[in-house]
């Protein structure tokens, strides 16, 4: 069968998103995007000893946005906060087997959501 615009990896994460949901007692929450633009991502992190022990997301958006959020939670779980901060949107897109040019902003959004959550974490910890 021919490939649609999305890689198999994107489709897999779209159909079977990993870590979808809320963390009630999250140590950090990041939310980025704008309803008027069509994408909103919310990322919940559980952090112990500076290490991300759990991550969940809720996303409103297109297939690429959902897949980007899903893979991001997978990529950061087990990482230290500093390691996680190094995750770039390119790395997110690459982990998904690539994104169509018009959808690159979705991986940027995922990177932003992560940065936003870690900022929240640092704020809560009084680290900034």
């Amino acid at each position: 069968m021919p490939q649609g615009p999305y890689s198999d990896k994107v489709m897999d994460h779209f159909m079977n998103p990993r870590n979808m949901g809320e963390i009630e007692d999250a140590d950090a929450v990041g939310e980025v995007g704008n309803p008027a633009c069509g994408d909103v991502m919310k990322l919940y992190l559980k952090i112990e000893d500076n290490k991300i022990v759990d991550a969940k997301f809720k996303t409103f958006g297109c297939g690429a946005a959902i897949a980007s959020s899903s893979i991001t939670t997978e990529l950061i779980k087990g990482k230290t906060v500093d390691e996680a901060l190094k995750l770039s949107n390119e790395a997110v897109a690459e982990a998904l087997g690539g994104l169509p040019p018009a959808k690159r902003h979705c991986s940027v959004l995922a990177e932003d959501a992560l940065k936003n959550a870690i900022e929240d974490y640092k704020k809560r910890k009084g680290l900034t």
Binding site: M1, Q3, G38, K58, F60, C62, G63, K103
Partner: protein, 408 residues
């Protein structure tokens, strides 16, 4: 993107394109090999039959819309017809004025001509529509000036289904000696159309929306109306459109038109009853849903809506994964292969009918066809609620709404 292979497909996207009817393809077949000749080679035996069948098809297309045979010009697509009509009327009548008006809900093949037209000295303005998508007559009256030569008002819009009051607009314009083009891609072959009653100067007709082939369409040009050609060359199509005639496609167009006329009433009844069920079923099973377009003045078999807290592309993709083909005015889906993000604007049609962009994130259009069945409607109704629930469960916007009761 076929993850659930071998699933029976429910095709509810006839507005985008239709399969060619078997009888239409059968009619086309002889003109690829057996009677392949150039219709302009009329002094050759090879040109005789091709010439004759092009002529007969022209007649059939004319009959479909109540025109004369020599008022039908074949083009390669509805898009080309709209370009020929608008640029051709503009250039053919530029001595009378430079101002052109488009309705706010015209198809891209009309509105995207704006830059080209401005570049060669024309002035474009847009006429508003109301929340049902109907042209705002007061706005039309305000925007018509001495310098106005042309208005483009589509007959019906494929995203929201609304049928425009073309005849009423024509009467108003005729008194002022202003030309009227109407894009009938969504109506001709589907509902009864009479160009004489509608009183339009040009009208686009597109067979791949009614079981005819792609790569062919027509423009009705009322006798006596000046239309400059856009594509010059040999003397085909009475000089309006050069290029060797696409004989098999023209024959298929004629056949599709003939069958459409014959079956129009039957098809419309079938479509209307199916779409009524579909609409009722969706209404009763999904909350926070908003139907778009005019409630009664609309295309048969056309159901369009947007759902709060549900993004259009994801909905379309999930429907697809469940075997259902629909289309979406969603920002994303329409141009997912664009080279950059400039294509990702909200649908101009939804914006025009006043749908708030911070709540609506893409609409879905179900456009049914003659071969759709009750079972297919039931299948769609059975999968829709689960998909909507799944996407809402995942949505931070829905989460916030449930907690605060506030939207957006």
């Amino acid at each position: 993107m076929c993850y659930i292979s071998n699933m029976k497909r429910t095709y509810f996207d006839h507005a985008s394109t239709t399969p060619v009817d078997r009888t239409v393809l059968d009619a086309m077949e002889p003109y690829f090999i057996e009677h392949f000749g150039n219709p302009s080679s009329i002094l050759l035996e090879e040109g005789g039959i091709p010439h004759q069948v092009v002529d007969e098809s022209r007649e059939k297309v004319a009959l479909l819309i109540g025109a004369e045979k020599d008022e039908i010009v074949f083009t390669s697509s509805a898009t080309e017809s709209n370009n020929l009509a608008i640029k051709g009327l503009a250039l053919g009548n530029k001595n009378r004025g430079k101002r052109i008006l488009f309705s706010d809900v015209e198809h891209y093949s009309v509105i995207n001509q704006t830059d080209f037209l401005r570049g060669i000295g024309f002035e474009i303005d847009f006429i508003r529509v109301d929340n049902d998508g109907l042209l705002d007559m007061d706005d039309l009256k305000r925007k018509v000036t001495e310098n106005t030569i042309l208005v483009s008002l589509m007959h019906a819009n494929l995203e929201i289904g609304t049928i425009q009051p073309v005849q009423e607009v024509a009467s108003f314009l005729k008194e002022r000696n202003i030309l009227l083009h109407s894009d009938g891609a969504a109506t001709c072959g589907i509902i009864p159309v009479s160009v004489k009653d509608l009183n339009v100067d040009t009208m686009t007709i597109s067979p791949h929306q009614f079981y005819g082939p792609k790569g062919i369409a027509a423009l009705y040009i009322k006798k006596g109306v000046r239309v400059a050609s856009l594509i010059q060359g040999g003397y085909q199509e009475m000089g309006y459109r050069a290029g060797t005639e696409n004989v098999p496609a023209i024959v298929g167009f004629g056949e599709a038109a003939r069958v459409a006329m014959e079956e129009m009433e039957k098809r419309a009844q079938h479509l209307t009853s199916l779409s009524k069920l579909l609409r009722e079923g969706i209404t009763s099973s999904i909350d926070y849903i908003h139907f778009t377009g005019h409630p009664t003045q609309r295309l048969p078999g056309h159901v369009s809506f947007w759902i709060e807290f549900v993004e259009g592309e994801s909905l379309l993709m999930w429907l697809n994964l469940n075997g259902v083909a629909s289309s979406s005015g969603s920002a994303c889906s329409s141009n997912v292969l664009a080279v950059d993000e400039t294509g990702l604007k909200a649908s101009h049609v939804l914006t025009a009918i006043g749908v708030p962009p911070e709540i609506c994130h893409g609409s879905i259009t179900f456009s049914l066809g003659k071969d759709n069945t009750m079972e297919e409607v039931e299948h769609v109704l059975s999968v829709m609620p689960g998909i909507v629930k799944r996407l809402r469960d995942m949505s931070p916007l829905y989460e916030a709404f449930k907690k605060t009761g506030k939207r957006g």
